[in-house]
Symmetry: C2
Subunit: 393 residues, 2 copies
């Protein structure tokens, strides 16, 4: 038998150095969201399974831990994603017809790692904008995600942008079943031209060529000009390209490298419009992703336009260059003279200014504290004074 302190695979503790960075960044980003009008909400960790999986695909089902509710006898799921919960809150608890902005920072659990060697528990931080389907909504969300990366200290992030609406427009032109549409979407994502040709062999050459062209439409801004030519005979697809052009115009000078991929990497069954994924330079796995998902609310009987993004807070915190939290600099030693009112006053005063003061519980000079001290409170001529600790070399 394994020792009792061994954790399950891909499950770990957040220890002090990391926890401090994560907490710092959590505050920075939630404050950033607040100043843009996004209000914090905290959905619960568990819900009835069918609520959690509402409007989502098979993938989320497999990723969701399940248990039985003693009170109702029904199956509960531990959320593997928070976005659908925020959508539920917008639909049914806030229930407005106006624009609603919500944000969150909470943990999700997955039955297996979604990326190589990544933890199964992820601290998700995100912002969602409901009730507006115009391009200004896509732009606000895209800019806020870039701003979040900037605040986190990510240097020259890479933003990969697509638009599911383009593929959807092409699929509407093709006479095929919903199952076939999903298969086409998968093949486009995998950029499998030969399989696509085969599957679409009964479709007009013109339509087939347009679908096939998506698999080659990835790269810099020039991809959009190319798309305008190749998709010219599908006006609805072109309006999807126009949306990407307008976003590019607004975010191109915000200090990130932008690439496009019209065979977009996100779930076709979930997203409905502009989608984006953010990377740090030299990293293969994303820091976060987002996009438009106008359809999801309908599963809660109340369709609302929606777009948003989610970031992996622990991954982001690894990139944060410096942390200026309470207790980051000085660490003061104080003896434990509880009945010395003057000492206690000085200690409380220092702490109220954000200085860490540790009371030595033994108090006889035989310090047995794990933290190392930069300064100490010592009695000089009957008065407590703060002196730097001289390190022996």
């Amino acid at each position: 038998m394994l020792p009792r302190w061994i954790l399950p695979e891909y499950i770990d503790d957040v220890l002090p150095n990391e926890a401090k960075r994560v907490e710092y960044l959590r505050r920075q980003l939630l404050d950033l969201f607040a100043t843009q009008g996004f209000e914090l909400v905290g959905p619960p960790t568990i819900e009835y399974l069918e609520s959690l999986l509402t409007g989502s695909g098979k993938d989320l089902d497999l990723q969701t831990f399940k248990t039985i509710d003693r009170l109702s006898g029904r199956t509960l799921g531990f959320r593997a994603d928070i976005t659908p919960q925020i959508s539920r809150i917008d639909s049914h608890l806030i229930g407005s017809d106006n624009v609603v902005r919500l944000c969150y920072c909470d943990k999700v659990l997955r039955t297996s790692p979604t990326e190589v060697d990544s933890p199964r528990e992820v601290i998700q931080l995100g912002a969602e904008l409901f009730g507006f389907d115009g391009i200004e909504g896509d732009i606000e969300i895209c800019r806020l995600m870039l701003k979040s990366l900037q605040v986190s200290g990510v240097v020259n992030p890479i933003l990969d942008i697509g638009n599911v609406a383009i593929l959807r427009a092409l699929l509407r032109k093709i006479n095929c079943s919903d199952e076939e549409k999903v298969e086409v979407a998968n093949l486009v994502q995998r950029k499998s031209q030969s399989e696509l040709s085969d599957l679409l062999k009964n479709v007009s050459k013109s339509d087939r060529d347009m679908v096939l062209s998506l698999t080659e439409l990835f790269g810099d801004r020039s991809v959009l000009s190319e798309a305008r030519k190749l998709l010219a005979r599908a006006p609805e697809a072109i309006s999807g390209v126009e949306r990407l052009e307008a976003i590019y115009d607004v975010i191109s000078d915000l200090g990130c490298a932008i690439s496009f991929d019209l065979a977009e990497p996100h779930g076709y069954d979930y997203h409905s419009g502009v989608v984006f994924t953010a990377y740090a330079q030299g990293q293969n796995t994303p820091l976060g992703h987002g996009g438009r998902y106008d359809d999801i609310g309908s599963a809660f009987d109340r369709a609302r336009p929606a777009t948003g993004f989610t970031l992996n807070l622990r991954k982001l915190a690894q990139l944060t260059p410096s942390v200026e939290m309470v207790g980051n600099k000085k660490c003061v030693y104080a003896p434990s003279n509880f009945d010395d009112k003057e000492l206690q006053r000085i200690v409380e005063d220092l702490r109220s200014k954000g200085v860490v003061v540790i009371t030595d519980l033994i108090g006889d000079g035989t310090i047995k504290e794990e933290r190392s001290f930069t300064d100490e409170l010592i009695l000089v001529d009957g008065e407590w004074s703060l002196k730097p600790v001289i390190k022996s070399t």
Copy 2:
């Protein structure tokens, strides 16, 4: 079938007004802990069941949601308590022989409400001190809990203090099995004198009377003087009373009502020394509790003295009088002219000062925003200026 947006019983969302208070208090208290040298850690939500239940009683088992780990085939538990996890981190990840101070703020889940009408998901916030068994440790933890209540705005809290070491000392004098000891402890807690007399009929009258006397030793400071008389023939029990006297001397002027209960209300199988429970005036259910649990580490093969406390953050946040978070006062309306660099500069400048500025996505004056505005950015003679919104009456 119930609609899909219905949550399980005793599970709820934290909506914006409450979430703001909870986040505010979380920061205040974690900063308070930091200045006293307590370092933040974040243990995972799930662990192998036997790790989570290590050193704990049957109650925790019943309260723990279980599921199967796809990767190992073993049973996982969703933690119903965080303290044992912090003890595991102290024992095995930090592994120091010195004093270690750790704190945390995270969610726990229970299979049924532990108090009438309370949510099954609780945001626990706590601080734990490891590696020191002296009374200075009990005092530090007790004071920190009181300070936390004060920072939270709890007016005249009630602190109910006991010491499990007193009962344990008496039980060591009695010749009975471990099972009988647990039963005695339960009867003492329930203050069932007649059942106790019956169970202890073969014990010397002197010892029996001392155990029975615990059931009447509750009330103000005078209880401790009474205890000194009644328990005089059990010196080990008296040293437990002395510890309570010393704690009283230090905390009696800190603005809380102190009561003692030597038939302490905490788990006999878990705690080992001074224990305390905090209440707000007029409330029956506690805001938090804490105490010494020197034995728990031994379940992780590394016994360490330990004492700490945990608070119910949502319950505490209900008592917080005012919240001065980012975005609490002004809420400014701005049109969505993304290409007006001067407007964007002003908006960013306001936000960097903590002012909420919401971009009206429509931007044609037909505002459809859920938030109401206190001020607006409008163009006057070609310059953007901030004007208060005049409310129509």
